[in-house]
Symmetry: C2
Subunit: 459 residues, 2 copies
């Protein structure tokens, strides 16, 4: 521990400067104009990884933006940790809301302000520097690989095939990811669950054209009214989803884990007031944390039909549309849910209305057990640096790539994030506290230490 702290102290300024260099590259994956910056960023990382102590570092072209792979194999017989991260960032717009330019990093109040400062350059950079530290101080206890992609913010369209094509190269015992938030700055957090998703679009057609609502209204079925009826029937008064079979595969979380979850600091009043509502809603019989973490949900993400301009146009619309997504929990299968939704939704349509449904996006839920060496190692490392046991959090969100890793590589991921919900990722003035940066660099070597011990002892 002294070695770790001493190295960080001695190299503090350099670490910050190196992160700034990385943050200055506008690696916006969504924009064509930044294609060159993407390649430049991957090449830059190759140099950084080699300098940090990698035996091998290589930029792999994909159909989209390149993937950076690096590794240091200490001993084939030792466990291997694969660090996953992404060097691409969200677009910085609206630029006028930034206090300092998004690609000119700046420290204010102990926080680094820049696009990507947290998500995910700041977070994976901690792993790079922890790796350097372990190499230089001779305390790297196992093999390490890095896979840093450039398409996370656009849905990782090429990562699954990259993994499948390079299965041996990236083979590992665990995938370590820092791309999630902590509950609070000094509350260590492990994300142990992510929800899956089934995202559908529906289209209802009534008459073959928009009709005059005076000359036809009352005698002809209206697809906008019908869509409301149908969506209304997807949930009941307890806010449970009524799709037959929907809950069949939902794993009811046992009381032990629910008790653990309840320890997570959370205040419904604060939560409500932050989003400006005086009442939350949600499925009867569950807390907010549970509704987000262990229960599925159904939301209309968008709805449209008929005349939506200014004033009073008197039409009886021909069509009505909605985007409806369901967040799923283990062991729901998104493909099964898509079929259940499709079947039930169609069954709700009255005569006179034609229904089309379309799958827009899907992904499996993910959950990692609390009694695994991956989790235990994280718990031990975080307790040592933060002085308290981490809180396991089932996030309401989805990182589809995590279940891809599990499916394609048969490898569990461990999500130890050092971000914060308040770090404004995806928003103007994204930032990352220096506290988090150095706490991360300090914690990661301990994870490697305990994971190697536990894993070595286990095998």
């Amino acid at each position: 521990m002294e070695k770790v702290k001493g190295y960080i102290e001695a190299n503090r300024e350099r670490f910050i400067n190196e992160l700034f260099e990385l943050l200055r590259i506008p690696s916006v994956s969504a924009k064509d104009e930044n294609k060159g910056d993407m390649v430049r960023c991957a090449e830059h990382l190759k140099g950084v990884l080699l300098e940090a102590g990698a035996d091998r570092a290589e930029v792999f072209a994909t159909k989209g933006h390149p993937v950076l792979f690096a590794e240091k194999i200490v001993d084939e017989s030792l466990p291997t940790v694969l660090v996953y991260g992404h060097y691409d960032v969200q677009p910085a717009e609206p630029l006028e809301l930034w206090k300092s330019p998004p690609f000119e990093p700046e420290i204010r109040d102990g926080k680094i302000y820049a696009r990507g400062a947290d998500d995910d350059k700041g977070q994976f950079f901690m792993h790079v520097k922890a790796f350097e530290l372990m190499v230089k101080e001779g305390i790297l206890p196992c093999n390490i690989k890095f896979m840093i992609e450039g398409e996370e913010e656009i849905g990782s369209p090429n990562l699954e095939s990259f993994c499948l094509e390079n299965r041996d190269m990236i083979a590992a015992d665990v995938i370590l990811i820092s791309d999630t938030p902590m509950i609070a700055l000094e509350t260590p957090t492990v994300t142990t669950g992510l929800r899956g998703m089934a995202y559908m679009e529906v289209e209802l057609t009534g008459p073959n054209r928009d009709l005059h609502s005076g000359l036809y209204g009352g005698a002809v079925i209206n697809p906008c009214n019908v869509l409301c009826d149908m969506i209304s029937k997807l949930t009941d008064e307890d806010n449970r989803i009524t799709i037959p079979g929907f809950y069949d595969d939902v794993i009811e979380v046992d009381s032990d884990e629910r008790r653990e979850m309840a320890k997570r600091p959370h205040d419904d009043n604060e939560y409500s007031s932050e989003i400006g509502v005086d009442y939350l809603g949600g499925e009867k019989g569950y807390s907010t944390i549970e509704r987000l973490g262990i229960r599925p949900s159904l939301d209309v993400n968008g709805i449209w039909g008929g005349y939506t301009g200014e004033g009073a146009k008197t039409i009886l619309p021909s069509k009505a549309f909605a985007k409806i997504s369901m967040r799923l929990v283990p062991d729901q299968d998104f493909r099964k849910v898509e079929k259940q939704f499709d079947q039930y939704f169609r069954s709700l349509a009255p005569e006179g209305i034609t229904v089309k449904t379309r799958v827009l996006h899907g992904g499996q839920a993910y959950v990692s057990p609390l009694d695994s060496p991956e989790y235990e190692a994280a718990a031990m490392a975080l307790e040592e640096t933060f002085g308290m046991k981490p809180i396991p959090v089932r996030s309401g969100g989805s990182i589809p790539i995590v279940s891809v890793f599990e499916k394609a590589l048969d490898t569990k991921s461990i999500l130890i994030g050092f971000g914060l919900d308040s770090n404004a990722i995806h928003s103007p003035n994204e930032h990352f506290p220096l506290f988090s940066l150095f706490k991360g660099i300090e914690t990661i070597p301990l994870y490697f230490k305990y994971y190697s011990q536990l894993k070595g002892g286990q095998e």
Copy 2:
């Protein structure tokens, strides 16, 4: 009758040429670029009316487009008929769908093709020529006035105040209007009812911004889902409107009039197949004709909220909107219905959702009795020229100006239209059959004759 037929025969070509002249003026009230054409059209009509035999014809400026007023007072002690019409037309777009240019009238297959050929230049022109005929042949039996406005297609924003300011000038015993369709080319029709309207816009707000549907979905109330629930509750499974008190003032039409209505030729299968639905829907216990004519309706004219672009954006929207209009029947008062809607709709909102409602447009329903001299005269005239009694039709649409006439002038209107639903008014290739044009010119003098007789006898 011989005089009438003879005059029409002798002047047939001239009548067509004069109507063509009128149709060539692009009097589109909605477009600024046609402002000059509007004035030109009103001035042109002034000349036409004077030539036809008016004692007085005058163009009145309004805040918008001018009103043409003309009259011939035969004898103060005789009844007075006011002919209402409008010289403005709908925009002609999309121009590429017209087979011949909209403002270059052309006869094909016995029909005049041009914007305004039916609505309403063709229809009020019949009255002008019938007037000329009665004057020239010395058979005008009563006083006649013309009020031809230029803002009907944009909602007649200045006509009510014009009527109120010129109450004495336009005073009449009956207002005669040809601006409605017949059931079929050879089926004479009198429109005896028009529905009123209460048109509302609603806005629901949940959270103070769009939220991430993964990080909040299931724990936070979604205004798009709620809007669907609320709209769904506005009608029941019999398609009756559930707003408390909504039906209180609805006049139940007696079985005699329902029997009369049932005589109207109508085929639900034809009607359905024309609009491309295999089932119609509508309030239980009523026929299609009744649902349109004597029953109120509630339609979502437009709905929108959340993400409506391409692909899958995972938001839990902050807001949801809808435009909802109700068609009303006698004796519903639109202002009362607006209040009832507002109160009930708000009562449906769950905690956590804020509701705003806004009145966009309103108008009273109108019904004219079948046992009045106005109606009897129309029935006698139409029977004589068509060989069958007219069918009284309660139209589902609204012509708010008719109830304004009733309210502001205390004068009943009689709606004898010679148009057809298939004449493509408001659409490309609007047309008006020559058959209708001359049948109208032939019928109108008979209306004047019988109305004067009945009215004279009555007083």
